[in-house]
């Protein structure tokens, strides 16, 4: 019995598998029956066949016989700490053990706290416009994370403060401008890490 031809849509869906000979017999016959009566689909099938045939020019190659020894030598040469840390890392185990949501929610919580700290904190004193809208603690937090954290998004405005300006309160700048520049070493800085946020605020004022 002659198979019922497929529709154009169905044929197009199965055409690649048909050309590559991966279809079941029943499907293949349905496609073939369609191609016999549909010139556009048949032409397309011929083009696909031509392209596929052209790819047969590349034969398979065997890898060199001593290749595995090379792999073992490379593994031998690896630094030991690279292998010790990775598989036993509790953080990785947590991530792999279905605890991803814990990590995700932690990051989200940290982001919320960070944003809450970095938004407007009304101040009563008459500070310069650039510092008035910045929470020094947030600035301290930001400083430890370095550049590239969300706030430095090239000119987006948050509460009147151009995000690029937050950079003025990075730790490195503080050390350079308010501490080390005066001839002190890092150990002689006038503030302890605990009061760093306050010191930044004072320095900014």
């Amino acid at each position: 019995m002659r198979p019922k031809p497929f529709s154009c849509k169905r044929t197009q869906k199965l055409l690649d598998d048909h050309v590559d000979g991966l279809l079941r017999t029943a499907d293949s016959e349905g496609v073939r029956a369609h191609l016999e009566q549909c010139t556009p689909c048949d032409t397309e099938a011929a083009a696909l066949r031509a392209a596929t045939a052209s790819l047969s020019v590349w034969g398979d190659l065997e890898p060199p016989p001593d290749c595995f020894e090379g792999i073992l030598a490379r593994i031998e040469a690896l630094p030991p700490d690279l292998l010790e840390s990775a598989p036993h890392s509790p953080a990785l185990r947590l991530l792999r053990g279905g605890g991803r949501w814990v990590a995700t929610s932690s990051v989200a919580a940290a982001a919320v706290v960070f944003l809450a700290l970095s938004v407007t904190t009304p101040t009563e004193h008459d500070a310069p416009a650039r510092t008035r809208h910045t929470n020094p603690v947030a600035a301290g937090l930001l400083s430890s994370t370095g550049p590239g954290l969300g706030l430095r998004t090239n000119g987006l405005r948050t509460n009147g403060l151009r995000t690029g300006e937050v950079r003025a309160y990075r730790v490195d700048d503080f050390l350079r401008n308010d501490g080390l520049r005066r001839g002190r070493t890092r150990n002689e800085l006038p503030v302890s890490p605990a009061s760093f946020g306050d010191a930044l605020g004072a320095g900014a004022r």
Binding site: A47, A50, W58, L61, F68, R74
Partner: protein, 192 residues
């Protein structure tokens, strides 16, 4: 599956070496580099064994590593070539802005280039190299590694439908390239 166990590593290597090596050769076009990529693939698999998801197919994971390494290599090579070819030719003492790429462009006689282009294998190689990364990988994995759309989708992190569309686009480009070069079979007409 513990790839830190040398016996298991060897077993996995034996089962996948040919496919991975040939994928690398076809992607980077150089046997020496392909061997290097093959070795690095297994070193990565060894050092990052913990990133392999239990229940997944090792071969799919290895193909993904191998593919990424190959593309890293190609990008680095492209960057190096750009950097070196765009460097000014200073050894001659000229300071008129001539670059190495300019000297290369005129060094090949047109007749030689024509002969090379007419060679089927070179033509197919060139056409495949001209495909975008994703389409090239789909063609290679499908044609030479006999992967189904679903398997390719897993390697590339795409949907099977996207993979099928990629393959169709890639083959259309290949066909037109062959036709332009006069290498398409006469009975096959352009369908588009």
């Amino acid at each position: 599956m513990d790839l830190r166990d040398p016996t298991q590593l060897r077993k996995v290597y034996e089962a996948n070496k040919r496919g991975l090596y040939n994928l690398a050769v076809r992607l980077v076009g150089d046997r020496q580099w392909a061997e290097d990529i093959l070795q690095e693939t297994f070193v990565r698999a060894y050092t990052r064994a913990e990133t392999f998801k239990a229940g997944g197919k090792v071969s799919t994971w290895l193909y993904r590593i191998c593919m990424n390494l190959s593309y890293d290599h190609l990008r680095a090579r492209k960057y190096r070539a750009m950097a070196s070819l765009d460097a000014p030719v200073t050894s001659t003492g000229d300071s008129d802005g001539a670059t190495w790429s300019a000297t290369l462009a005129s060094s090949m006689p047109p007749a030689v280039a024509q002969v090379e282009q007419n060679d089927t294998e070179d033509c197919v190689r060139r056409l495949i190299d001209e495909l975008p990364e994703r389409e090239r990988t789909v063609v290679l994995l499908r044609q030479y590694h006999g992967m189904t759309f679903k398997e390719i989708a897993e390697v590339l992190g795409l949907t099977a439908r996207t993979v099928q569309n990629c393959l169709r686009r890639a083959k259309q480009k290949l066909f037109f390239g062959l036709k332009e070069a006069g290498l398409a079979p006469p009975q096959a007409e352009a369908p588009y």
